[in-house]
């Protein structure tokens, strides 16, 4: 481990928290990518992308 990260771990003494947070955020991140790129949602995104063009009054 990089000495600075080692030092960080010791300084805060809460290495387990850093580990849990890292895992949680990575799961959230990859889960989000999976959700976004899931083919089942493609139509939803395509419709969403058209929202700026669907106006009540055409300005």
């Amino acid at each position: 481990m990089h000495p600075l990260i080692e030092q960080a771990r010791e300084t805060i003494g809460l290495g387990w928290m850093a580990a849990v947070m890292t895992i949680l955020f990575m799961v959230a991140y990859f889960g989000w990518i999976w959700y976004a790129y899931n083919p089942a949602h493609k139509q939803m995104w395509d419709e969403a992308a058209m929202l700026p063009f669907e106006e009540g009054i055409d300005l």
Partner: protein, 482 residues
């Protein structure tokens, strides 16, 4: 939702465009004022007698006036212009409360005026980008709450289920600025004009730069990305390149930004690990930033020919490109050894203005010129002047930033240079300051060109809105509501 495209099923909403026109004019006027002060302080750095020998006009008092005017008045008002205009349309509803909109507008302008009065008088709490004294800070908080209630009230009564990505960016602006402003300004008032921060020492510095960097992130970046996601597709007449990329880079951006503040405190008393944390997060920030830039630029795929004739797209493309450049430069400057060279030099000022003039300024001009004929239902009075403004501004930015980069590198290298005996090669600090003079004159030239462009826009805007109304013959363009 999709029914709205079909002409018979169209929802007709009475949008409040009056508030949009107000914020629009405020942007144009404060922009010119803020940049004029920028030109004046640029002149003072090149030629000090321009401080007139009066306390009110010295550099130290005018500099915060410049930064606050361009950030909170110019950039702030364009964000509000774009938000009030686009969110009503994206959500297909009028703003929740016209009264709150008006309180927001007048309250915000009053705050700006109070800043313009207190700074030259030397009344400040000396926190960069948060110089306002505590009574005005309280006013900012109240006005921001008014804005937030109206914003979320409008979201609550929306007629469209999906919240378009631009609005997510606006939302991060509304929420994060509230948190940043309150936490950074927590202080104990002593008198009406003076207060003491509740933080001290290193904690104070860390809170200040957590605020400072996220002001860049959530005042000068996320709302502007929101503007890009609405107005770039509108101006290019094609949907955003990848909607999925937009929502991924949104969460990536806001998650990473919050941690990057310590890159302003490298080699300081901040614990080493916290500095490293800030540096690592800043470098990672390159990814979502470039995700946004590429999404903007690739939207023009297949429409690049439009750039040749459409000055609005020109402004947008240059703006988004500068966004990419400054978010590449920023992560590089966050690397400890690079920061050791850049910190305290004019390189930082160059970086700031490549983001501020390039990204914020150019995107603002694009949105203003796009809105101008639509908000007032008039033809732009001097269409050619728009293109001339574009070239003046572009050349101005290039001169400004190149001069500052060169000055910064020169300073940084000369400060650290040692001779064979290991002594400083340039032991007399003022010698190096003198060598900066030609670069300061160049910056003044670039800044003046940029400022003149903004003046041309001001003239164009006022000429246009005094001109004759468009006759409703061509497209079935309905007259703007109210």
């Amino acid at each position: 939702m999709s029914a709205a495209t079909a002409a018979p099923g169209r929802i007709v909403v009475d949008y409040d465009d009056d508030i949009v026109r107000k914020f629009f004019l405020a942007t144009v006027i404060w922009g010119v004022v803020g940049m004029l002060v920028g030109v004046i302080i640029a002149l003072q750095l090149a030629w000090w007698p321009a401080n007139l020998g009066l306390p009110w006009t010295t550099f130290g008092r005018l500099r915060p006036l410049h930064t606050n005017a361009v950030i909170f008045a110019f950039a702030g008002n364009i964000c509000f212009t774009g938000i009030y205009h686009s969110m009503q349309r994206l959500l297909k509803t009028r703003m929740w409360s016209d009264t709150l909109s008006k309180i927001h507008f007048w309250g915000w302008q009053l705050i700006i005026v109070s800043a313009a009065i207190t700074y030259p008088l030397g009344i400040t709490q000396s926190r960069e980008y948060a110089e306002l004294i505590w009574p005005i800070d309280v006013a900012v908080t109240l006005i921001w709450v008014v804005f937030a209630i109206n914003f979320f009230g409008t979201l609550a009564i929306r007629k469209v289920k999906h919240i378009y990505v631009a609005i997510w960016f606006y939302m991060s602006f509304v929420i994060t600025i509230a948190v940043l402003h309150i936490v950074n300004n927590l202080a104990m008032p002593a008198t009406f004009l003076r207060s003491y921060p509740i933080y001290s020492g290193m904690t104070d510095a860390l809170v200040q730069w957590w605020y400072g960097h996220n002001a860049v992130g959530f005042f000068l970046t996320t709302p502007f990305l929101g503007l890009m996601y609405y107005y770039l597709p509108k101006a290019a007449d094609r949907p955003i390149y990848s909607y999925r990329l937009s929502i991924i880079h949104f969460w990536g951006l806001i998650f990473l930004y919050i941690w990057a503040g310590p890159h302003h405190l490298l080699y300081s008393g901040l614990p080493d690990w916290a500095q490293t944390l800030g540096m690592v997060f800043s470098i990672m920030l390159l990814a979502p930033s470039w995700g946004g830039m590429l999404n903007g630029l690739l939207t023009l795929k297949g429409a690049w020919h439009k750039l040749r004739t459409d000055p609005i797209l020109k402004f947008m493309v240059v703006g988004v490109t500068f966004y990419g450049m400054s978010t590449f430069e920023g992560p590089m400057m966050s690397i400890r050894s690079v920061n050791g060279l850049a910190h305290f030099t004019n390189w930082v000022v160059g970086h700031v203005h490549s983001g501020a003039l390039g990204w914020n300024g150019m995107l603002t001009f694009a949105v203003l010129y796009w809105l101008l004929p639509r908000l007032w239902n008039r033809e732009v009075a001097y269409p050619k002047m728009v293109t001339q403004h574009f070239w003046l501004a572009t050349i101005g930015i290039v001169i400004y930033t190149v001069a500052m980069w060169a000055a910064g590198l020169m300073e940084g290298l000369q400060w650290r240079a040692v001779n064979d005996a290991g002594q400083l090669a340039n032991p007399i600090f003022i010698d190096i300051v003198h060598r900066l003079e030609p670069f300061y004159w160049l910056r003044l030239l670039g800044g003046t060109l940029y400022f003149l462009g903004a003046v041309m826009m001001l003239i164009n805007v006022f000429k246009t809105i005094r001109g004759p109304e468009r006759v409703a013959a061509a497209a079935p363009a309905t007259a703007p509501a109210s």
